[in-house]
Symmetry: C2
């Protein structure tokens, strides 16, 4: 169905349009046909009143572990090692395919409710996640995860190839499969190069973690005599497109390698703070011209998947880190969560801005709640004052997947009940 | 009316009760009569189903400038001096009594929606704010503000005395008037001691700002040869009870003075980050045994009054600052927003915990949204995963001021429209 959104306050995040404008948006066959100005609805068009709403590109959550939502609020306020060894890993071992299906649906309900239209995931049993993505109507990069040594990789390879063959570029292009070697500290050199070769073979991208913790830096120094980035570079890992979460501890030389190899970074501020890893040097990422997206990480280290809050937190911590209130402006942060996220995922030709000809991935935020009055600057309002619950409508590829705060494609009550059941079982 | 909340998941924040428990809460004549166990409703009792809700003490926002909500999202991402001189002060000069009334109502709508039952305010034309507080049913410490020199104080004094006489301990004890000399850098020594004497005369407290910025420290060093805290101590300012916002730059000697003089601090993390002042050394505050509350500061430097988000941000930044994921636990942070806030305001005998005999100031949060499933630890859920919009019910002094997300005492539509009108006029 074609849609006209009438008289919205539009934040297009475009190079050619103003910071914000009031006008109509026409969506035809899943594509943005007109952004701004006035549209005359045609017969059969669905007309949505946007007069009390801000319209902006759907948010892009560039790093998460969707099904880890089942482990939410489980083991907080503890050190990384205790958390992983005593709480997370023993429970992950007990997760079944059915649990992953349920955890994926739970995560999707939360993502859509907080205005996300595209996300990049990394976990296991990813056919289940792909099924949920397909049903939900959202757009996703499914990370086909690799960990361990040559043997573990050989065992996983058939499943990964099957995932790539059956899912990459599926669901009308909404689903892509990326190769996700977990990290330098969990993958052997063989596994890392196998991941690279697989990405090359299928013409897809790599999704990994880089330089998240001080411990990771120290371990790499001891084991490889260098930093994770330089070690990966020595493997020619970056000969395929790579996006990497965290990058909290990158040296100047690391940043220079990232620049020259077009490594894209995903900033996950809440997770980095919560696990006491610190604040990634995002100002330096930007000085080096890197594409920088924003991610929530998994619910078990966040504890939510709320990109609206993630933007607020990101903006605040960099002003403090740079001792400059002009740093990390609302517009820069909203860019990370939209157009730069698209660049990170190699999709900036398709999504990330409300430019005519792009996919119609957009969200509507109500702006009539007391905490958004007076609105004054709508970009400030979205980044500094809004809540996830202000998201009223979510459209992906021209289809409404949330309308008037009701999930269109998902049975939320059932999803919540089933997730509770799985969570109880592994508690 | 008496109320029984049936079968809630209760977080009492009490010394004598568990971290959480499931049970009933009976409220009689505005007082908590029973917390936990089972109550048999009596004739005329209002029974509220709490089975899908978390019940906890109403949140205490210990530092805000309520009517500054009119200046929300107005001038972000700029340095303090430009912000104040070019944007905030010129507009504040144009604020009328009617604007303050409207701004106060706007702020109250937001506070109540995000679960606040008590707040401490500092602004001007405070009769207007007191009127709004009285009508709303919320509990407040109204700060009677002083700034400038002897002459300015002499001019303000009749209005302040009138405010104290007419409002202190009014509205059934819900309203207290505190004396609010703005800060060392905006008040002369005479004004600071006059504020102290006025607090002493009326048996009330002082609400001020201390050591918010590096600039303030440098100015005090130049002007008084010492720190703001030590300068105030030399004036015997702390001979009356004082609570002070910020404290980002306190020396060991300052902290020792705060400890020995029982100076209470209000941590305002979002505002400190946004204005690039940094992160207050809250771990040191606690090591010195200081009472530490939590505040949003005004909407113009935040940009919302969302205490749920404030808790999340507070917890995160101290884990990073201490490089310890065990720092600033969810329980410690929730304490700041409840029982410690009550201690800051000298009200810990009355409010801040769900202990029998205390005022019935409590909130209900829905816990059936996807981002709160699975709940696992309810304290973690409130601090790390919840959103302000999860607050379903707010009771102050035994009266519901929000029920099923509907403001009971306030005409929200009118409040929003009038606030927009005032904001337009001063834009």
């Amino acid at each position: 169905m074609n849609t006209v959104i009438h008289n919205a306050l539009i934040i297009p995040m475009s190079d050619t349009l103003p910071r914000y404008l009031r006008g109509d948006i026409r969506i035809t066959d899943g594509i943005l046909k007109q952004v701004g100005g006035t549209c005359t609805p045609e017969a059969g068009d669905k007309v949505v009143d946007g007069s009390l709403s801000i319209a902006l590109p759907g948010l892009i959550n560039s790093h998460t572990h969707l099904a880890m939502s089942l482990l939410r609020n489980l083991a907080d306020d503890m050190d990384l090692f205790t958390w992983l060894q005593e709480h997370i890993w023993p429970r992950e071992e007990r997760l079944t395919h059915e649990d992953i299906r349920r955890g994926s649906y739970l995560g999707l309900a939360e993502l859509i409710r907080s205005g996300v239209t595209t996300f990049a995931d990394m976990y296991f049993y990813q056919q289940e996640t792909a099924d949920a993505v397909e049903a939900s109507g959202i757009r996703a990069h499914i990370g086909a995860t690799l960990m361990g040594d040559r043997e573990a990789t050989a065992q996983r390879m058939p499943e990964l190839r099957e995932l790539l063959v059956s899912r990459h570029n599926s669901a009308g292009g909404r689903i892509r499969v990326d190769i996700a070697p977990h990290a330098v500290y969990t993958c052997s050199g063989h596994t890392l190069t196998a991941a690279r070769d697989l990405a090359d073979e299928f013409g897809t991208m790599i999704h990994t973690h880089i330089s998240e913790s001080r411990q990771e830096q120290e371990d790499a120094r001891r084991e490889y005599g260098t930093t994770p980035v330089q070690y990966l570079d020595s493997l020619e890992f970056f000969s395929v497109p790579v996006y990497a979460a965290h990058g909290v501890f990158l040296s100047d030389r690391d940043l220079e390698i990232c620049r020259s190899r077009d490594v894209r970074l995903v900033h996950c501020p809440t997770s980095n703070l919560k696990l006491a890893n610190g604040t990634a040097p995002v100002a330096q990422f930007l000085e080096h011209g890197l594409a920088v997206g924003l991610g929530t990480d998994g619910a078990s280290s966040n504890n939510n998947l709320n990109m609206i809050e993630e933007m607020h937190i990101a903006s605040l911590i960099h002003k403090a880190a740079e001792e400059d209130p002009k740093a990390a402006s609302a517009y820069e942060i909203l860019s990370m969560a939209t157009r730069e996220g698209a660049r990170v995922l190699g999709r900036d030709g398709e999504i990330g801005t409300l430019d005519e000809g792009k996919q119609a991935d957009l969200i509507l935020l109500d702006m009539d709640a007391p905490h958004l009055i007076p609105l004054n600057d709508p970009v400030s309002a979205v980044v500094y004052a809004a809540q996830a619950s202000d998201v009223r409508g979510v459209m992906c590829a021209g289809t409404w997947i949330m309308e008037d705060r009701k999930l269109v494609t998902l049975d939320e009550e059932r999803i919540c009940a089933e997730a509770e059941e799985s969570a109880r079982r592994i508690r």
